[in-house]
């Protein structure tokens, strides 16, 4: 189970509202390479993984992604808090506002709703670790893209923190992949699905 801790993993305190930027950053909540997809990817993959270390890293990174989702949502919330109808129109926020007012709803910056096809849970740990390494890189690129558009230090600071975490997670998934290969059965020379081997010669 999970318990809630009344704090963000890294502080978010934004003074200046900016609905246009909020619309862009919201992609890291419900977009294709966002934190919701990341958390569900790792927390879904872990059940069928037989390697205990890999299941551990999936659980702990998946949990951290939930905290990142909360940070992204805090950024979007603070960027749009109490904005006026005029600010909504000037910031091109009206098409989001009409359906969700100032609430958080998982969608990409372009308005595509969250979809579990953004991630895979394949049941083959090598396939999954490579998917996860790619996912961390895609999220890192998205944060790079966001950082080019941000000039407010209050927004830059937590985004840079999140970007750095993608790099650390990439490293850990790379190690998880190495562990899988090191601990694989030598009879399974081609490292076919290490978690499902009904046909392997006994």
């Amino acid at each position: 189970m999970w318990t809630y801790e009344r704090r963000l993993q890294h502080p978010v305190n934004i003074k200046e509202r900016n609905p246009r930027l909020a619309q862009v950053i919201m992609s890291q909540f419900g977009g294709p390479d966002g934190e919701l997809a990341a958390s569900q990817r790792y927390l879904s993959q872990r059940y069928s993984t037989k390697n205990r270390k890999v299941a551990g890293i999936l659980t702990d990174i998946g949990t951290e992604e939930l905290a990142h989702m909360e940070m992204v949502c805090a950024i979007v919330h603070q960027l749009t808090k109490d904005i006026t109808p005029q600010e909504i129109l000037e910031g091109n926020f009206e098409r989001y506002y009409v359906d969700h007012t100032l609430a958080l709803w998982p969608q990409s910056a372009g308005g595509i709703p969250f979809n579990s096809c953004f991630f895979q849970s394949k049941g083959d740990p090598i396939t999954d670790m490579i998917e996860n390494m790619a996912a961390e890189q895609k999220a890192r690129t998205t944060y790079d893209n966001i950082l080019r558009l941000v000039h407010d230090h209050d927004v830059c600071d937590p985004i840079k923190f999140l970007r750095q975490r993608e790099i650390n997670h990439f490293q850990r998934f790379g190690e998880a992949l190495r562990i899988l290969l090191e601990e694989a059965d030598s009879k399974n020379f081609y490292a076919v699905n290490l978690d499902y081997l009904p046909d392997m010669c006994k």
Binding site: R6, Q9, N13, D60
Partner: protein, 85 residues
């Protein structure tokens, strides 16, 4: 304790928690690294003390530690996503 020491104590919880968050992932893939294990122990102790002190003076950050008298206080304080400003 004043507002200033509250912020300092909270910053200490944030910082030590983050060290443990990152170390946890490292230890998942390097469970026998003695240097990392010693570092875990050291930071864990500082974090435990900071959380205990903060909870005593300003209330719990985890609802299992809510002290109940005549009112449920868990929902009185601002939520973390509200920010300071």
């Amino acid at each position: 304790m004043d507002k200033n020491s509250r912020e300092k104590l909270f910053a200490c919880i944030t910082a030590t928690s983050f060290v443990l968050d990152d170390l946890r992932l490292y230890l998942d893939t390097h469970p026998d690294d003695q240097e990392a294990l010693d570092y875990w122990k050291k930071v864990q102790r500082v974090r435990n003390e900071a959380v205990e002190e903060y909870t005593k003076c300003f209330g719990p950050i985890n609802s299992y530690n809510v002290d109940v008298n005549n009112r449920w206080t868990w929902v009185d304080e601002p939520w973390p996503w509200e920010g300071r400003c």
